[in-house]
Symmetry: C2
């Protein structure tokens, strides 16, 4: 295990790991300030001076926050909150390999949190040299494999090159990688395509496989534990399809898994790549979990660009000054809206169709990390933890749910994401503006409309305003920008977890459902083996629910 | 305009249009009952008798609600609420053509609401014969067109049949139709494919067109007003691509638009189909807005099946007894959770990958309908209107945001949707259960886990329970079932709007953003024409925001 360099520094900083949010002076201060938050609808409230100065820049992104309900006193208190919670100090310890995935005094995962090490391979001095060396080793294995595919050293049984890759994985092995691939499809290598199978729904696999030339298809099976039910089931389904097509799976299947897992069996796979315990699923897009698929689809050079962008943002996240640290500022603005202004949700609104699945990735990254009820000392939280994350690309959303954002009875803080130029560059001047200009103008118009509102004699045409939002803007959605954006949100989530004093790296909340599903499946299996089987006495509610759902009767009549 | 048959009945029922939610006796009663809602975690609370009896069936769907925090007194009060608000009476008036899209005493759309008329073509007696006749007329035009495509009467310039159709539309012309097509892709006509372009993002169109054989492609442009900015821009982009490929657009382009709209120009289109003022965009999936594309992709017979399923559910929605009316019961359970138990959001969790975009459709259908702040008399609401709708298919979500649903500090009511058998029927027995059984078992396990929770000595492994959910189950996701599901949610949304006394059929909240976007675009155009242009004096905030976003500087340096 990685040993952090400055042990003395670590000891001091680790005292932050048990500071309760509501015990910090900034918590009290912010509570007072929240009684009269900045009024964005007041005349002159949104001055050009404010708009121009409430702006941070890092790793290619501008963050504009003049349309948040903050002013100098609130920003000072948020800076205080960052310092009192030691948010950046904890982030630095994380990067160095501190065991942050734990609950003090209780059985827990007891793991380091080192997704940043995958990107720190570019850093002059690696904070966690061992983990970065591991990441580099896997990257080099991947580079060799990709070269062999390109030179024709690795081909199918008929001597043809592989054109397609199907990623089989779920959760972090699906959402982040898929969001990245869709975001960067414009940078695809010619003749290469990537597909995804995630759901245990058999229709998901069937729909994906129909229309593929399996002979030219690689299958990348991704599961850290090597025992994820959905992934193993889908792997079997896909292996069966290959066998039926007369193809030898071990010439087509790749594995990304933990060393020593049940899937770590080179005989069954053309190549195996490793993932490590210090990288949680929802933070694993820049590990081999995303890299193998992205390397195949976009090429190795573009893959490195993603990592470079992420590393640049990881570096910006080390700034102590919140006005120079976009992820930290975004985290604090989120806390202001959620804990102090009482907003339950956060909308992620990318004005880019390519980011169509980015909100789905963030739903996992954020909600699985921070949807918690106990502190890192196992005490019940006396404050709200993570918000509900949702959203769809604009301008589509404008024609859907924006009505509620503008005029509903619930305030929805929003994070808008935009780009100054398009990816494909195919655009058209209509009425003196391009489509991309229309896109950006719409984004900024929404931000203004939400903030300032509008009075009207017709009550149905009134807009109350004071609905807070942030804008994130970069020049273009390149692999570098995508890497930076990914890392920005990863760091934001982690900062919020530090401040709330929760463990953002475990997911005990998914266990009960798994346990009960196993119990219900035993009833199916029981019935299959013995038509007289009944689960009534051992599991009254479960058995009744299966009965009420009509699935057992169905089963019997089959 | 349609004249409702029983004018006297209408007069009585229309008194419901101005009843305020918080003035009804049931409102007070429910508020009292909400102080001690049913405790699902109490021993025996989830008895098999409760599970089996808290179930409603209609139009092929079972609705199970034993895991909601309701008991007999709450259900009686909800029945009272339905009656006091005249929810069903208003629904019947709607179907007959009452002018429900209005705000009393203020300028408003003043329209009927007759999406149900598209399905009432199967009813022995049409409640709104004129609108149903219109719908039937358009359906017959469509049937003729589809036949001509199949017989080879209509072909491309090279005499080949059309294989692909691109739907160009946004909002209701995209979300509902797309959700339906993806849900039913398993029923596709061989050799036919459908694609969608919606976003003004030029990359959206570019990504869709790349890889299409335009010579064999139809383009269906859908806009009621014929003036939707995104749709017209995309139509121009696509027409240009056709022209560049040497193809005559009028042999390829179809129009779905309002009579007399700027798009109602037969010379530019191969065929034109009409939509009517009485059908709002978000309720238009079963009108020509969805029908042309679905008819092409799935065939006319399957299209009629969708309409038949919807009509069956529309009929169930007429039941006065909430225990026989799934949409009404779902509406009331939603109101119980939202207005009385204080939950801001609602998760839609289909355990079917095919329903991947159904939640996105509901975001529009529900949030654009009920995200309102004034009553139908223009008074500010003193109660919460529509919730925030979000969700993703399971089991994927289990590996993403379910952590927060189980252990977060916010209660998220959920509606689970499942099917007893798969669409494709390709499935595999692994450990004595099929994938579809795993899918349904997981769905029901989540429902149980959320309701009952679990105690544990490790505080991080505790589940508080009492998190309410509903299950909707049908045999299989067929066109009929999809139609029923669509209509179920349309009716649910409408019922909630009736009870909250809001106009669920307008969308004034999207106007301000449009207005401001036009203002910002004028700055772009101004700069393009004159590099010395400045919008500073006329629009201080807008000009500053463009400057801070770096888009004007960019523009200048281009």
């Amino acid at each position: 295990m990685e040993q952090p360099a400055g042990t003395r520094g670590q000891h001091e900083a680790s005292s932050y790991f048990s500071r309760d949010f509501n015990m910090m002076p900034a918590w009290k201060k912010l509570g007072e300030l929240a009684r009269a938050p900045y009024d964005l609808t007041a005349p002159g409230a949104l001055s050009s001076a404010r708009i121009r100065s409430y702006r941070v820049h890092a790793a290619g992104f501008d963050l504009l926050y003049s349309t948040q309900r903050v002013d100098e006193p609130v920003l000072a208190a948020l800076q205080g909150l960052a310092e009192e919670s030691g948010a950046v100090a904890q982030f630095l310890l994380m990067k160095k390999g501190a065991v942050l995935n734990r609950i003090e005094g209780y059985a827990s995962e007891e793991r380091q949190v080192l997704h940043t090490a995958c990107r720190d391979i570019f850093a002059p001095v690696c904070p966690a040299p061992e983990a970065s060396a591991q990441a580099k080793g896997e990257l080099e294995k991947l580079a060799d494999f990709l070269t062999a595919l390109e030179t024709g050293e690795i081909v199918n049984a008929a001597g043809e090159p592989f054109t397609d890759l199907v990623q089989v994985g779920i959760g972090g092995s699906d959402l982040g990688p898929r969001a990245l691939y869709l975001a960067l499809a414009a940078y695809k290598m010619p003749g290469r395509r990537v597909h995804f199978i995630s759901n245990v729904d058999p229709d998901d696999a069937a729909a994906t496989l129909s229309g593929l030339d399996l002979a030219k298809t690689l299958v990348n099976v991704v599961s850290k534990s090597g025992s994820t039910l959905e992934t193993l089931t889908n792997e079997e389904l896909v292996r069966k399809a290959f066998a039926e097509a007369g193809l030898e799976p071990s010439r087509h299947f790749l594995a990304v898994t933990g060393k020593g897992s049940p899937m770590d069996n080179p005989a069954r796979y053309l190549r195996s790549f490793y993932m490590f315990d210090s990288i949680g699923g929802r933070y694993s897009a820049t590990s081999m979990v995303g890299a193998v698929m992205l390397g195949f689809g976009l090429g190795y050079t573009q893959l490195l660009e993603i990592l470079r962008g992420a590393q640049a943002m990881d570096l910006a996240a080390e700034e102590q000054d919140i006005r120079r640290n976009p992820p930290l500022l975004l985290a604090l603005l989120g806390i202001w809206n959620h804990n102090f202004l009482g907003c339950e949700t956060l909308a992620i609104l990318p004005y880019s169709q390519a980011l169509v699945r980015f909100a789905a990735h963030l739903q996992q990254c954020d909600m699985e990390s921070n949807g918690k009820s106990v502190t890192r000392q196992g005490k019940p939280l006396a404050w709200e933890s993570g918000p509900i994350i949702w959203g769809e690309p604009g301008t589509n959303g404008q024609h859907a749910f924006y009505q509620l954002i503008h005029q509903g009875t619930t305030i929805v803080p929003a994070e808008f994401i935009g780009f100054r130029t398009s990816q494909y560059g195919r655009d058209l001047l209509i009425e003196q503006t391009t489509s991309q200009e229309k896109l950006v103008a719409n984004l900024l118009a929404q931000v203004l409309a939400l903030a300032t509102g509008q009075a009207d004699e017709n009550p149905n045409r009134c807009f109350a305003g004071n609905r807070p939002s942030t804008v994130l803007l970069a020049d273009r959605l390149t692999p570098y920008a995508m890497g930076a954006l990914l890392a920005l949100y990863e760091a934001k989530v982690v900062f919020q977890g530090f401040i709330w004093n929760i463990n953002s790296f475990d997911q005990e909340g998914v266990q009960l459902g798994k346990k009960l599903a196993t119990r219900l499946l035993a009833h199916y299996a029981g019935l299959r083996q013995d038509p007289g089987y009944s689960g009534e006495t051992s599991d009254d509610a479960g058995w009744a629910l299966l009965g009420a759902a009509g699935v057992l009767a169905k089963e019997r009549s089959d």
